[in-house]
């Protein structure tokens, strides 16, 4: 060590010593006991008003269905490309005047980095899917419920997060107008209409009769009440799924539009 660096080190030592002494003096100044440093008497920090729970993952996997509404009329295509074959035309509104919704089943980006969304379509043949531009669709919403209609057992079961929460007898289509089998979704809910044959409320679905294609408004299959409860359970309808009025009211408290529907 040279004389200069030694002197510098000694100088730094003096400065550091003074600093420690000064800090000690600050901490102890004004304390009568001379034994308790001042920082020990600083008020405690307030407890935060919030209790933030530990972060947890979604953990809902395949049990959550995602749906959205059609914001602008568009063409669903066979592939995620504007050049692909048209599959169906999607309107903004249903025949009932409600927002036209679709169930989301996939996503892709095209060569121009535009996002396309694969959706289940309310179109014949039943089960048709197509790709639509993301910008034609609205906000994504989710459903944790899933309605399952068993055509053999003539029952409807609602699952929430995979667990049954509702069960009822149903009426389905007669042999000449069968209720179609497949994977669909609830599109809308109609209430306060005057039509006793449909009961107090009705849900529209994306399922369509494959026989009654000239039925008004497209031959969509509904889930609704009835003025003939004595016929249930049975094969009694033109394809719609009928429930006793008490059951459809109970169901209406449990599901919303966007709920997936499996008819098996």
């Amino acid at each position: 060590m040279t004389r200069r660096t030694a002197a510098s080190a000694a100088g730094l030592g003096v400065v550091a010593g003074c600093a420690v002494a000064g800090l000690g003096g600050l901490l102890l100044a004004g304390d009568d006991s001379q034994a308790t440093p001042r920082h020990a008497v600083l008020p405690a920090s307030p407890r935060p008003a919030l209790t933030v729970p530990p972060p947890t993952g979604l953990g809902d996997g395949a049990r959550v269905a995602v749906w959205t509404s059609v914001l602008r009329s568009t063409t669903a295509r066979a592939r995620p490309s504007g050049d692909a074959r048209p599959v169906a035309r999607l309107a903004r509104r249903t025949p009932e005047g409600t927002a036209n919704i679709v169930l989301v089943s996939g996503r892709a980006s095209d060569a121009r980095r535009r996002v396309w969304v694969r959706v289940r379509l309310p179109a014949l043949p039943n089960g048709t899917s197509g790709w639509v531009p993301r910008r034609a669709l609205g906000a994504y919403q989710t459903s944790r419920t899933h309605l399952v209609v068993d055509r053999r057992a003539l029952t409807a079961t609602l699952l929430r997060d995979g667990q049954p929460v509702f069960h009822a007898d149903v009426g389905i289509g007669r042999a000449r107008w069968p209720t179609p089998r497949g994977r669909f979704y609830v599109r809308n809910r109609l209430t306060r209409y005057r039509s006793p044959a449909y009961g107090p409320l009705a849900f529209g679905t994306s399922a369509r009769s494959e026989r009654l294609t000239d039925w008004p408004a497209g031959g969509f299959v509904g889930i609704h009440g009835t003025d003939q409860p004595g016929l249930l359970p049975g094969r009694v309808s033109h394809g719609c799924i009928r429930m006793r009025n008490g059951d459809i009211v109970r169901l209406s408290r449990l599901i919303k539009a966007g709920t997936p529907l499996t008819i098996r």
Partner: protein, 221 residues
């Protein structure tokens, strides 16, 4: 006032989202999206009632709703890959925890979750990261702007604790997007009105689609 938008949305992600959605620049800068205004409307009401901290907390809750919805939707889209996918899961879990905490604290005074249409920004890697940077920067600036207005020290302590987490998220997303995590020696706060305007201008807050009707059914019967 454009500089504020540019400050908060330095990479133009929010503006780009708005313009992609067909919102003109003039409308975007004007911030006239009614949905956003509606979503924030409860806060001034609570404020007028003398409950200043409730108003501030509800304001923060709307931002937390937006962030948690954004990351949750990104995770569900399964469109992200690698570090972005991992970040979306981790940050989303934290933002959901923030939402839960605010809801628990506010109880019945908690504002309801608005509906968000993120317009495809959750469904592709680059737009996701770009928007995440803008969101996190916005949240950090918003918390900083509101913290001095809080009167109850326990609420302030909570806000500061969340603010630093949001700052970490901002740095994380900036790093993943490839921009400097920390640029300034001093970060400016952002007043509430500017945050409202930026959020409103994105068009991300939307009204719910109507899925009910009183029309007579014409189903097959």
């Amino acid at each position: 006032m454009d500089f504020l938008l540019d400050d908060l949305d330095a990479d133009g992600a929010l503006r780009e989202a708005g313009e992609n959605a067909g919102i003109s620049r003039a409308t975007f800068l004007g911030g006239t999206i009614a949905g956003a205004v509606a979503a924030f409307a409860i806060a001034p009401t609570a404020e007028a009632a003398g409950n200043n901290d409730v108003a501030v907390l509800n304001f923060a809750l709307v931002l937390e709703y937006m962030q948690s919805s954004f990351y949750t939707e990104a995770e569900r889209s399964k469109a992200l890959r690698g570090k972005a996918e991992d970040a979306a899961k981790r940050v989303g879990a934290v933002e959901r925890a923030h939402v839960k905490a605010f809801q628990d604290l506010l109880g019945r005074k908690a504002i309801k979750r608005p509906m968000f249409n993120f317009r495809g920004t959750t469904e592709a890697q680059r737009p996701f990261l770009k928007t995440a940077v803008a969101f996190e920067d916005l949240a950090v600036a918003a918390y900083k702007g509101q913290a001095p207005r809080l009167r109850a020290k326990p609420v302030l302590a909570a806000a500061v604790a969340i603010h630093s987490v949001e700052a970490r998220h901002a740095a994380w997303m900036r790093y993943l997007f490839g921009v400097q995590p920390a640029v300034n020696a001093f970060d400016d706060a952002s007043p509430k009105a500017e945050v409202q305007r930026v959020v409103g201008a994105t068009g991300f807050i939307v009204t719910r689609p109507r899925t009910t009707s009183r029309r007579r059914p014409r189903y097959t019967g």
